[in-house]
Amino acid sequence: MEEKIKARVMDTPKIKRALHRMTTEIIERNRNLKNLVIVGIRTRGIYIGKRISKLIKEFEKVDVPVGVLDITLYRDDFSESEAQHMVKKTEINFSVAKKDVLLVDDVLFTGRTIRAAMDSLIDLGRPKTIQLLVLIDRGHRELPIRADYAGKFLPTSKREIVQVRLKEIDSGDEVLITEPPGIK
């Protein structure tokens, strides 16, 4: 059975506007853009990170490098679960030491991914600061973590699923709220 789509909360223009606004906020807050690096969390954080980097280049003519972080090895739920998770590559071709690191992910939920990502980043070097950008903040945090830049705050119930789709790997740009099958 297909999962049920409950709402389509963002489309191409809305995502574009949110990224533009957040880019402006990043530029306002980081006066030394040359010290900024972007690290996208697999998978969709990478593409959001690349779009932000492109916008910064458009607005301010500064190149901000984008790295890729795979947090599998830093997860805190290895032993609790059954299925297996494939490890993918971390590809950060620059030093994060003394940098202002902008961590990018699609959805902020429990905060556990971000906890894992921060541990992983700090093992790669000691960043000057870490800032967090997410396209959707859906609440339900289990750890004291918050986003510095959020595209949209989206109150959800815990059993709902928030799906971010991006044209780089999906059919197009959109954010959906869905519910798993079998739940009324």
């Binding site: 795979d70 599998t72 090895l73 830093y74 997860r75 739920d77 290895f78 032993s79 609790e80 679960s81 059954e82 299925a83 297996q84 998770h85 494939m86 490890v87 993918k88 590559k89 971390t90 590809e91 959805v107 902020l108 939920f109 429990t110 556990r112 991914t113 541990d119 992983s120 093992d123 790669l124 070097g125």
Partner: protein, 312 residues
């Protein structure tokens, strides 16, 4: 794809897609050893025992570093100072170590099949680090990882394995793996060390190294086990060297992009000349480096790597 095995006993038990899973996973682990902090917390709290009944430098320390870089605790069992010298049986040794609740035991033993036997009564994940002349799966996997790094693809690749095929667990594991991945394997060695029954594994045999070298994309030299020389498998080391040593003169006949491999330890000047072992086409030290990433992948796939759902 998921990796469903509890133990790693040999390459024979694996499918080509499982081999690919291990190599792809190793690809991700490779980068960790290049970091300044060469450690991830993945296997924190897991205990691993290195149980080596035979001497080893590379394999034992490679497994040890692999475990440590994944934050597992690893205990090295030292044959000389162990109760095995007091006559404790293999099974009792394992049962006693197991009473200490390890998660995995890495075993090397001089008897073919010892590791399989251990897996029949052990609760832990058992990893074969070489059993007699049977299999040495992680060596074949790290060889495959190195070949893939250099040649990208196994299909149709011509690989020549040279030396003491009869006694070599490295040769057997490599034959199984390379055949599963679609490479073409030719075995070369003196008749006494190259039983023709090996042809049933789908490989070719040749007693002439000069001829075999010409076609090879990969030349894999094996160690001549000098300790077995008294049994007269070949008339003299000098004759062996004349016929089967990889020398600069011989290597000139090879393809321009052929590479040289050796699982170590090398007998310089016996199966391979010093200039060949150290030349630009030799990937021998690359093999050692890759061993850590491959063993990290094996430990991860057997001991960890589980998830519930995406944690968002």
């Amino acid at each position: 794809m998921a990796f469903k095995h509890k133990h790693l006993l040999g390459i024979q038990d694996l499918t080509s897609s499982e081999i690919t899973t291990i190599l792809d996973t190793a690809e991700s682990f490779y980068e960790i050893s290049t970091r300044e902090v060469k450690k991830v917390p993945t296997l924190r709290g897991k205990t691993i025992i290195n149980l080596f009944f035979e001497p080893s430098t590379r394999t034992r320390s490679s497994f040890e570093l692999a475990a440590k870089r994944l934050s597992a605790d690893i205990v090295n069992f030292n044959l000389k100072t162990s109760s095995a010298v007091k006559g404790e049986t293999f099974k009792d040794t394992i049962l006693n170590l197991e009473a200490m609740n390890p998660d995995a035991i890495i075993i090397r033993h001089s008897c073919s099949g010892a590791v399989l036997y251990a897996s029949t009564f052990s609760r832990s994940n058992i990893i074969n680090a070489g059993d007699g002349s049977h299999e040495h799966p992680t060596q074949a996997l790290l060889d495959a990882f190195t070949i893939r790094q250099e040649k990208k693809n196994f299909k149709g690749l011509k690989i020549v394995i040279v030396g003491d095929i009869l006694h070599s667990r490295v040769a057997r594991s490599n034959i199984f793996l390379l055949r599963k991945m679609g490479a073409k394997v030719t075995l070369v060695g003196p008749p006494a060390l190259l039983p023709l029954e090996f042809r049933k594994f789908g490989v070719e045999t040749d007693f002439n190294l000069d001829r075999a070298v010409e076609r090879a994309d990969v030349i894999m030299m094996l160690r001549i086990q000098l300790e077995r020389q008294e049994k007269n498998f070949f008339p003299s080391v000098r004759e062996y060297r004349n016929l089967y040593s990889l020398t600069a003169q011989r290597f000139r006949r090879a393809k321009k992009n052929a590479i040289i491999m050796h699982p170590g330890p090398i007998n310089r000047g016996v199966e391979i000349s010093t200039d060949m072992a150290d030349c630009a086409k030799s990937v021998i030290l690359k093999q050692v480096e890759n061993g850590i990433a491959v063993r990290m992948a094996v430990l991860y796939l057997l001991l960890g790597g589980k998830e519930r759902e995406a944690i968002d």
